[in-house]
Symmetry: C2
Subunit: 406 residues, 2 copies
C-alpha cells in the first residue's frame, strides 16, 4: 500500500477537468470542476449535519440513494445556500450537466462552495459545459484542474492517491478536496471527492466511508464552524477487476486501510492549510478508557482558541491544553494527566501528574517553531487512543474572515 | 432601581483595597485585592464547571459551605492552578489573610487569576497584608483599587453598583469583576465579587445568584474557553436594615431584579472588553419555542469565529449567523428564520424566511461600525427569547494570546 500520483484520475476509468466559468468575478482561477467515470459507478456520500444545509447537499442526499452514478460537478465562489432560488438552481445545474454528458440526471452529483445567501448564476455553468467536458482527461493534469476548481481560500491544492493489491490486481483510490475556513466537519469535510476503480458494493462502500470519515475528517477542525455545504462523496467504478467486495473480510479490511491512509493525509492537509494557519496541530490522546473519550478530549484541545493562539506564538502554554481537556465535558483524574510537546525538533515534557514541570524554554520554543506541532496527552486510565488535527489561530485567519464576502 | 457609584463599597459596611505586592514582576499595577465586611456576612458562590479547577476554586467550594464570611482576598498574575504546591499555597493565602484580619480562616474566601501551572509565592502576599489592610476604605476609591487588583489583560475596570428601596430602606448591591480571555463561563465568570447590605438568608442569596448568573455571566463568551478559575461570589451583610428576605415574594423578586440589572451590565462590559475586542456583539433570539433553545441558538452565534471575524471586518455576512444557528444542535425550520443587524446607526434586515434580502450595503457597514452590534434573530415558532453577548475576533486577540505566558 503506497501513495501514488494522479488524484481522482489515478483510478482507472475516471477523468476530470476544471476551468474558469465566471462565477468568481474578475478572476481567472478555476471555479468549476467535473469528475466523470466512463462506466457507471457505485456511490456513497456523507453530508453536513448542520441544520442549515445548502441546496446541493439537500439534492445530493436524495441523489445518492440511487444505484448508479456517472459524474460529480462542483463550483466554487457561491455556496448556493440560503439563496432565494437555491434549490431551483441546484436542480438546473444537475440537469444541465446530465444533458451535456448524455447521462441520467439521477446519476449526477453536484457541489458548491463559497458565499452563502447569494443566487448562483447557472447560465455561466451551462455555457461552460461543452468546454469543460472537452477538457476531461484521465491524467494527473485533469485531476489537478478539478482540484483547483473547488478551492476557495485554500492556499494549497489537496489531491492524493493510494494504490494497493487485491486479488492480484492493482486497485487505486484517489481524491481531491478543499477546506480552509468554516471547517469543523460533522460528517466529511467541506468538499471532498474520492474515486476508486475497486469493485465494491454500495453498502460496503458506505460502511467504509463512514468508518474512515469518523476517524479522519470528523477529527479535524479549523475554526469550530460546521459548514452548510460539507460533502464527502466516493465513486467506485470497478475497473480494477478485483473480485467485488460484498461483505466484511480481508479484502474489505484492505480497502478500509487504503481509504484510511488516503483520508488521514487528506484531513491533515486540510487542517494544515486552515485559513491563515502557520502550524498543523496534532493532538494524540492515549491511555484513555475509550476511543470516543480520547477523541472528545483531543478535539477540545485542537479547538481551543487559546491553545491555537499559543501555538501561533510558539508559547509552550500547556496550562491551556489542560484547561481545554477540563472543559471537554469528559470526567478524568486531573492528577494523572501528562502533557508533552513534540515536533521534528524534539520533545519536551511540560506537565506530569497534572502539575507543571520545569522545562527548557529554549528547546520548547524550537519544538513549537516547526510546521507540525504534536501535543501528546497521556491519561493513564486505559488503553484507547485517538488523534485529532487542527491549526493555529493567526492574524491571517482574522484578516481572511474579516472581509471575505465583500 | 438605579445605578449608583462605589462598586463593592456602595453597600454599607463594606470596605476594599488593592495594591502591588510583587506577584506581577517588574510592574507597578495592583495585583492584590481585599474586600471586607465589618460584620459577618451571608455568602453564596458559583464556580467553574471545568473538570480542571484551580486550587482557590476547590478551597472556596468548601469554604462557601460555612455560615459566616468576613472577607475575600484575590491576586492576579498567577492562577494558582495545576502548580506543584497549588492547594498548599491556597490554604496558606487564606490562613495569612484570616490571621492578619483577626477572623476565622473559615470566613475568608480567596481567588487567583493569571498564568496556569506556576507556583504562587504566598510570602509576597503575607508581607503585603499589613499595608493592604491599612489601605481598606469604604469609599469608591477603595473599590477602585480592588477592581484594579484583579485585572489581567482587561483594558477597562469593571465596577458597578445598584440601589433600590426595600421596606423603606435603601439597599445597595455592588460588584467588581475581571474578564478578558478564557471567558466562556459555565457558572459565573472568571472573578466577580459582589457585595450587598441587603438582609437575606443564605438559601435565598444562593437561589438569586444562580437565577441571575444563568441569565447573565453564563450567556457571554469571549473565546469559548472555560477557565479553570471562574468564581462568582456574593456577600450580604444586612447593614441596610430591611426585613430579612427568607422566602420568595415581592422583596425577593425586587432583590433578584436588582441583581439581574447589576450582573447584566457587568456581563456586557466583560464581553465588550474581551481580549482584543473592538465590538460588543449582542445576539437576541426571539419568538422561540423555549428560553433554553433561544439561549443555545444565541450562544452559537456569539461563539462563531467566522461571525466574530465578520463583525470585526464590519461585513454583514449574515450567512455565517444562519450557519451558526444551524450547527447549534437545535432543530428548527430554516425557512422561518429572519435576521436583522442593528446598532445606534440604524437597522438592516438581511434575511427573511431563511433567504437573503437585497439590502443597502453602505447602511449595513455603518450599522456594523458602531461599538455595539446587535444581531436580532426571529424564529417565528413561539414566544420565548434569550440574549447572549460576545465580542469580535480581532488581530489583537491573536496578539495577546500568542505570547501571554512568556
Amino acid at each position: 500500500m503506497k501513495f501514488t500520483e494522479g488524484g481522482v484520475c489515478a483510478a482507472k476509468g475516471f477523468s476530470a477537468s476544471g476551468m474558469h466559468c465566471g462565477i468568481r468575478r474578475g478572476k481567472t482561477k478555476e471555479d468549476l470542476s467535473l469528475i466523470c467515470s466512463k462506466i457507471p459507478c457505485q456511490g456513497a456520500g456523507l453530508f453536513t449535519r448542520n441544520q442549515v444545509k445548502a441546496a446541493p447537499v439537500l439534492l445530493d442526499m436524495e441523489t445518492i440513494k440511487n444505484e448508479s452514478f456517472h459524474a460529480i460537478i462542483a463550483n466554487s465562489g457561491i455556496a448556493n445556500a440560503c439563496a432565494p432560488h437555491a434549490m431551483e438552481n441546484a436542480k438546473k445545474m444537475q440537469k444541465a450537466a446530465a444533458a451535456a454528458l448524455g447521462v441520467e440526471e439521477t446519476s449526477v452529483l453536484i457541489g458548491s462552495t463559497g458565499v452563502i445567501g447569494v443566487d448562483l448564476d447557472v447560465s455561466k455553468i451551462e455555457a461552460a459545459l461543452p468546454e469543460l467536458i472537452g477538457l476531461l482527461a484521465g491524467t494527473p493534469e485533469g485531476s489537478d484542474k478539478a482540484a483547483k476548481g473547488i478551492m476557495t481560500t485554500d492556499t494549497k491544492k489537496k489531491e492524493l492517491a493510494v494504490e494497493f493489491e487485491l486479488d492480484g490486481r492493482t486497485v487505486r483510490l484517489g481524491g481531491i478536496s478543499k477546506g480552509s475556513g468554516m471547517i469543523h466537519p460533522n460528517m466529511g469535510t467541506m468538499l471532498c471527492y474520492l474515486t476508486t476503480d475497486c469493485a465494491i458494493s454500495k453498502p460496503m462502500l458506505k460502511q467504509a466511508l463512514k468508518y474512515v470519515c469518523d476517524r479522519t475528517f470528523n477529527r479535524i477542525s479549523v475554526d469550530g464552524d460546521t459548514s452548510t455545504n460539507d460533502s464527502l462523496i466516493i465513486l467506485a467504478n470497478g475497473c480494477a477487476g478485483n473480485t467485488p467486495i460484498e461483505s466484511e473480510g480481508t479484502s474489505f479490511s484492505l480497502f478500509c486501510d487504503a481509504l484510511l491512509m488516503l483520508c488521514t493525509e487528506m484531513a491533515r492537509r486540510m487542517a494544515a492549510d486552515g485559513e491563515g494557519a502557520s502550524h498543523l496541530i496534532t493532538c494524540n490522546v492515549s491511555e484513555c478508557e475509550s476511543e470516543a473519550k480520547a477523541e472528545t478530549l483531543a478535539k477540545s484541545v485542537i479547538c481551543s482558541p487559546l491553545t491555537k493562539a499559543a501555538v501561533f506564538g510558539c508559547d509552550a502554554n500547556w496550562g491551556r491544553v489542560l484547561c481545554a481537556l477540563g472543559y471537554s465535558g469528559e470526567s478524568f483524574d486531573v492528577d494523572s494527566v501528562d502533557i508533552q510537546f513534540a515536533s521534528a525538533a524534539g520533545t519536551v515534557d511540560v506537565c506530569k501528574d497534572g502539575k507543571g514541570l520545569n522545562f527548557d524554554e529554549e528547546l520548547a520554543e524550537a519544538v513549537l517553531k516547526e510546521p507540525e506541532v504534536i501535543i501528546n496527552v497521556t491519561m493513564h486510565e486505559g488503553t484507547e487512543h485517538a488523534t485529532c488535527w487542527g491549526c493555529d489561530l493567526t492574524y491571517d485567519y482574522v484578516k481572511i474572515n474579516g472581509d471575505y464576502r465583500t
